[in-house]
Structure formats: structure tokens, C-alpha cells
């Protein structure tokens, strides 16, 4: 129960921040020239001034900025994200359609980065300053230094165009009529390249953190004690070292959930995935304020949730953390 009161307090503390961010973004977008109706006219390829005026009235854009902001916040308090002018449906629906792709991509990339970062980090730490360490560290550095859009495009050129092993984009093959397990496999195939593209840079970070924290823990007294008790090396690593070395890794997941949402804009564009990142970008270009604010709201909730889960894992890994709270 203590963990839930902790979560409740965390949530309460983040609400004012959330509102400040939303107000900030709202005002910031007022500085951008043009509004939704201008963007719509651009999309339509022209129209007369009366149509524009009608549309502005329809979407409430003829009201003052403060009135628009006020009505937005009032709706938000009632958990109503409003109506998207560009998509012609409630913002909540628009976001719900895009959320699965982003969550799928984020989960896949985080798991991939975390799992392989952990293994490679351990291997590097075990063979510190020997060839496996040098090799892994060098490869990690290359991954870290490669821009993800470039990596994505190169992966498409190699694996989709030349080798024809993996699809170049999309979330599923709509020309096929696969169902059940085949549909799942089909989606998995489509996710391989985007996951690699988004995950590699995080893999490099996890690898370095894991290596460093392994090395630190390996030099602590209790490890020496365990060794002197005559425990075998594998047991020492899994039972004693890994558990303690994992803490900084878990911290990172919480921090990077937000970064990953940002990174997904590029990956979703390169691989034409229908996710939140691309939706956010399109909302800015189309001046679809309601949708953009809705995405920010949902992303913030997502980050808060991830951090909450991280707190739970923390408590499992190190019981001192909850008792101290």
C-alpha cells in the first residue's frame, strides 16, 4: 500500500507541471504564423475567404487567445481532450489509434536495448581491457555516434532493397491476408528494422552504464567476501553483482522513456509507422492545437507511468529504497 501512496503523491506533484507545460505549448504555438484553417486551406489547394471565415468560427478560432486557452483547460479538467480539426474526430480517438504503434515500438526498442546492453555490458566487464571489452566498447561507440535516421535509411538500403529480407516500412503487409499467429509474425518482421534503429543508440548507453556499474560492484567488499567464501563465479555474478549493478540501469529506463518518444518522430517517419511521434509532427505543421496538446498530455502520462513502474522495480531490487521513503 505504501507504494500506492507514493505513486499518488508523485502523480499529484506532476499535475501542476503538466498544466504549466500545456499552457506553455499553447502560448508558444500562438507565435507560429497561421492557424488550423490556413493549414487546411493549404491542403485543399485554395478556397475563398468566406469559407475560411466560416471554418474559423466553426473551430472557435475567432475567439481571443485567453478564451481559447480557458475553454481548453476547462475541458481538460473534465478529461475531454477536445476535437481535432484536421482529423475530424475526437482527439482521444485520434491518439488511441496511434498509441499502440508507439507503445509497441518503444517497448520493443527498450527491451532490445536493455537486454542486449545488459549482456554486452556484463561480458565487457568480465573481460575488462581484453579483446571482448575493446570490441564491445568500440561497437558501442559507433552505435552511439550514428544518427538514427541515417542508420534507418542504410538498414533499408541493405536489408530491404538489396537483400529483400525485411520490409522497408509500414506496420503490416496489407496486401497479405494473414491472420492469427501469421499476422503477429508479420508485424514482428515489420518491427525489426525500426526497433534496431531506435534501440541501438540506447543499447550503446546501457552497455556503457552496465559495464561501469559492474566494474564498480565487482570491486566492493561483499563481492570479495563472497569470493573468499568459495562461491563459484557465475553465482557471484548473478546473485550478488548483477542485482546491485542493475540499479543505475533501471534509473535510466525512467529517464529515457521521454527521450524515446522524441526519437520515435524520426524513426516513425523513416519507416512510415503510424505512431504518436509522427502525429505530433503533423499536428504542429497542421496547427492542430488540440491534437498536439492531447499528445503532450498522453506522453506525459506515459512517462509518469513508466517512472512509476521503475519505482516498483527499484523496490524489488533494493528493499532499502521503500523503507527509506
Amino acid at each position: 500500500m505504501r507504494i500506492f501512496s507514493l505513486a499518488g503523491r508523485r502523480l499529484a506533484a506532476s499535475i501542476p507541471t503538466l498544466f504549466l507545460i500545456l499552457i506553455g505549448v499553447f502560448l508558444l504555438l500562438q507565435f507560429a504564423p497561421g492557424d488550423t484553417v490556413d493549414a487546411m486551406m493549404a491542403q485543399m489547394g485554395g478556397g475563398d475567404a468566406k469559407t475560411a471565415e466560416d471554418l474559423r468560427r466553426f473551430y472557435g478560432l475567432d475567439l481571443s487567445v485567453s478564451a481559447q486557452l480557458g475553454s481548453y483547460l476547462w475541458r481538460l479538467v473534465r478529461f475531454d481532450l477536445g476535437f481535432s480539426a484536421i482529423y475530424g474526430k475526437p482527439v482521444a480517438t485520434v491518439i488511441a489509434e496511434r498509441l499502440p504503434a508507439t507503445i509497441l515500438l518503444m517497448t520493443a526498442s527498450l527491451s532490445f536495448a536493455f537486454f542486449f546492453g545488459l549482456i554486452l555490458g556484463v561480458v565487457a566487464a568480465r573481460g575488462v581491457n581484453k579483446w571482448p571489452d575493446t570490441l564491445i566498447s568500440t561497437v558501442g561507440l559507433i552505435f552511439y555516434a550514428t544518427p538514427s535516421f541515417w542508420f534507418g535509411l542504410m538498414a533499408i538500403v541493405v536489408f530491404s532493397i538489396y537483400l529483400q529480407w525485411l520490409p522497408a516500412g509500414g506496420l503490416s503487409d496489407i496486401t497479405s491476408t494473414a491472420t492469427g499467429i501469421w499476422a503477429v509474425l508479420d508485424t514482428a518482421r515489420h518491427l525489426v528494422l525500426p526497433t534496431l534503429t531506435l534501440g541501438l543508440i540506447f543499447l550503446a548507453i546501457y552497455l556503457r552504464i552496465m559495464r561501469a556499474s559492474m566494474l564498480e560492484v565487482l570491486n566492493l567488499d561483499f563481492v570479495r567476501t563472497a569470493r573468499s567464501k568459495g562461491l563459484d563465479e557465475t553465482r557471484i555474478i548473478t546473485r550478488h553483482v548483477l542485482r546491485n549493478a542493475l540499479l543505475p540501469m533501471v534509473t535510466l529506463i525512467g529517464l529515457q522513456a521521454g527521450t524515446m518518444l522524441g526519437g520515435s518522430v524520426v524513426v516513425e517517419s523513416v519507416f512510415s509507422l503510424p505512431g504518436l511521434g509522427r502525429l505530433a509532427y503533423e499536428s504542429v505543421v497542421q496547427r492542430d492545437l488540440n491534437t498536439l496538446l492531447g499528445i503532450i498530455f498522453v506522453s506525459a502520462l506515459l512517462v509518469i507511468t513508466v517512472n512509476f513502474i521503475v519505482d516498483l522495480i527499484y523496490a524489488r531490487l533494493d528493499p532499502r529504497i521503500t523503507s527509506g521513503a
Partner: protein, 533 residues
Amino acid sequence: MNFTRRAALMTSAAIAANVVDPFKAFAQQTPRKGGVFVVHYGAEQRQLNPSLQASTGVYIISGKILEPLVDLDAAGNPVGVLATSWESTPDGKTITFKLRQGVTWHDGKPFTSADVQFTAMEMWKKILNYGSTLQLFLTAVDTPDPHTAIFRYERPMPLNLLLRALPDLGYISPRHLYEGKGDIRQNPVNLAPVGTGPFKFVQYERGQHIIADRHDGYWKGPANLDRIVWRVITDRAAAAAQMEAGQLHYSPFSGLTISDMARLGKDPRFVVSTKGNEGNARTNTLEFNFRRKELADIKVRQAIAHAINVPFFIENFLGDFAKLGTGPIPSVSTDFYPGANTPQYPYDKAKAIKLLDEAGLRPGAGGTRLSLRLLPAPWGEDVSLWATFIQQSLGEVGIRVEVVRNDGGGFLKSVYADHAFDLATGWHQYRNDPAVSTTVWYRSGQPAGAPWTNQWGVADATLDKIIDDAATEVDPAKRKALYADFVKRANGELMIWMPIEQIFVTVITAKARNHSNTPRWGSSSWHDLWLAE
């Protein structure tokens, strides 16, 4: 993908044709039934009803599902679709359409003149962009019987103008799904269109794809393809990659980068051409803000035009996809193109400098005569390149140009509502008749905030009179002569400079048959399109 393609191959009779090459050519003479055609869709639209929104982004999808009264044939002449014949009274105020019989909507209800009446009065006249201008003087549509629609106009409507406008501005929507169902703009049918065309709407997944399947009850007989899928791909490089990976069959309307189109043009798996887009010609523009006193001086405008080496730009930046333009009516317009013997402004740097001197713009500090702000429209890389080229060219004659880049909404607001520009550049898209697409760029008295209208501050009584006369002239020969006058006057006064002519580029798989066979093929119904094995 590989698996399904192979599976499809095994089940089809065409496998024999693939083994023995000589038979292949023979087999491809008869249309193959079946197959899924996958189309690149670059920019999603708010809605998919072409009776409410005139744009290629809508036609590329709903042009397969809904049908217009009239379309254009291979030679660019009007040919009946939902209308079978038409007739105008000599005064041009009454135009009668006979409608096709035995046509049903995809939901089984019959198509009648009531649908035409409702669409024309409630959609074209009130909501449709360009349509509301075209049908401004439409007073009523009479329906004496289910297969006759009589359009009544307050002022003469040239039959030729109407017929050339209707392929784009003449799509018919089902009255029974709109009437009495609240705000037409918000009707959910707009995103799940119901039409009379060869394909019926199946599914729209935002951000992913739109699917339409063959409609077996189509009045012309069932189409060849089983299904059309439009895949939403906003990134041009990603679309080119998917084209090469075999995930896409068709990228319309110059949807890829210029370099990718040139590269794929050398690949035998693709056909890259401007054919089939003649009805979608466009010109690159340079628009002057006449409110700026230096630009109100025709000598300065002429100097600017003479200072820019257009052939050099076309050759080095646009390649095969563009040619020198001669004015607001492009050369693909067989009905109205007046020839190139109107005032032109060839590259002549010395003359440009002389004109600037005559206009009293002497070089000041650092050789600068004049500083201008240029706003390029954010669509198309050619516009961006063109803006940079203008900037550098004008720098050489002492005009300092600052390029101010905006996104779509920002550009339209700055240029068309706030008039906060000195020079602007973008595309002018020609739509088969100058009265539909072009004269509105020149006619004075346009309300501020209307995009792609005369917001430059040009007010020329002579030109206004020509425009108004031509819009209601029912004699085709006189109309053509009036538009020749229009081009001569517009070029002579150099109100807007349109020095580059382009036609959209199509990238399509070499397996496609019966494609690009009409001037607006990308927007047409694809009834006869088929895919060879």
C-alpha cells in the same frame, strides 16, 4: 511479401507465361483480372469527399470511388461519365445534362437527378473550393425527371468552361446519405465515401492505409484489380525506398525527390514520366507585392525578371521534368495556349542593371540597391531551390534578398492574409480552363485571406474587364481570343512572373497496364488498370 507474391503466382494461370518468355508478351495483351495495386499517399486529407474538396490529394483516393458528371478522354476532350449528353441554350443561362441510367450507389440505392441537384446546390455552390466561385451565378438545378438535370444560371455560363471544370469540380455525392444528416462538413460519410465508381470503400486507418475493393456491380462492368491500397508515407526518401523494395506500385504527382525520380527512371522495373498528368500542369511563379513602391514600378519588376537565368536553372536543377514557361496559360492547354509571342523576359544582366538605374535605384553602401524579403512556399523542393537561385541571381545586380522560410500555414497567412512579403514564390496549378484556376490570380478586389488569389495589390481595369468578359463569353472562339489578350496584358505588365512550366511526374511499376492514358490519370477512376505478372 515474397511469400504472398509467390502464392499468388502459383494459383494464377500466368505461371506458364513466366516460364516461356515469348508467351509472356502475348499473355499481356489481355487484361489480367485480380491483383492489389499499392499507391504512395504523401499527405493525408481531412476528408475524402471530392464534392467538398477539390485537390489531387482527395481525387487520388475518392476518384476511384465517386464519379464526376464528365471526365476528360485521352485527347483531353470532355467525355460523359455520370452524364451522357449535355446541351446549352444560346444565351448560356440554361445547361441541360442527361444522366446515365441504371447506375446505383455502392449501398444499392439508385443514382438520380436528385443527387445531382443536392450536390450542386449544397456542396459545389456552398462549400467546394473553386466550386463556389465557378457556380457563383448558379440559381437552381431543375429535375423534371430522374435522369435530367437542368442547371440555371443568372449570368451566361460558357458550356466549354463548365465541361472543362467538371472533371475536377463535378463529383456527385449521394443525397440520401447527406440530406437531413446535420452539418455536411462533419458527416462521417466524408471519411468513408460511398459512390458509384468501380471501387468501393473498405477501410481507412489513419496514418497507415486506405483500402478500396472492386465493386462488381459497376455500370461499365467490374474493374480488373481486386483491391487498391493507398499507403500513407510522408517521408519522400522512405517512399522511394519502399518503391525499390517492391512495397509500392505507384507514386503520383512528383511524390519522390527529383534525384530519386531521375534514378528510378533508369531502372527497368519502373516507368518515370510526365504522361497522364497533362491536366495537372503547373508553373513556378514569382509574385511581386505591389504595395512596395519599388515593386510597383514596372522597370524594377522587369529588371528582376531579366536578372534571372531561367534556362540555366532548369537545366541544372530540374532536369527533364521542366521547361521554359511563357505565361499564366501553360503550353499543354491545347484550348487556350496563345503561343510564346507574348512579352517575354530573357536573361540579360546588363539590361537588368540599366533598368534598375532608370528606376532610380542606384547602388548604395556595399553595392546594394534594394533589399527584399522573399517567401517561398514550402511545397516541393523545386520551390526551395528556385528561391535560393533568385536570391543569388538578384544579388549579382545589387538586390539583396532575404529568404524567409515558413511551413504551409505560416506561408499562406503571411502572404495571403497579412501581405507581409515583398516577393513570394510557389506553384500556380492550371486546371484546364483559365476561369477555373488562373484569372483569380489577377482579378482585383479579392478579399484578404483567400489563398491563391490576387493578394499582390495588382489592380488593372483593362485586365479585369478581359477576365469578366471571358468568364461569361459563350462563343468558344471569342473566349480563346479574350484569353490571348489576357496573357498578353498579364505578361506585358509583368504582374506575376511564371517562367517555368512543369508537369507532375509519375513513378509507376513497369507491370502496370492501361495507365497514364488520360490527362488527369492520377485522379481518374482506374477502371481499366491492370497489373501484369
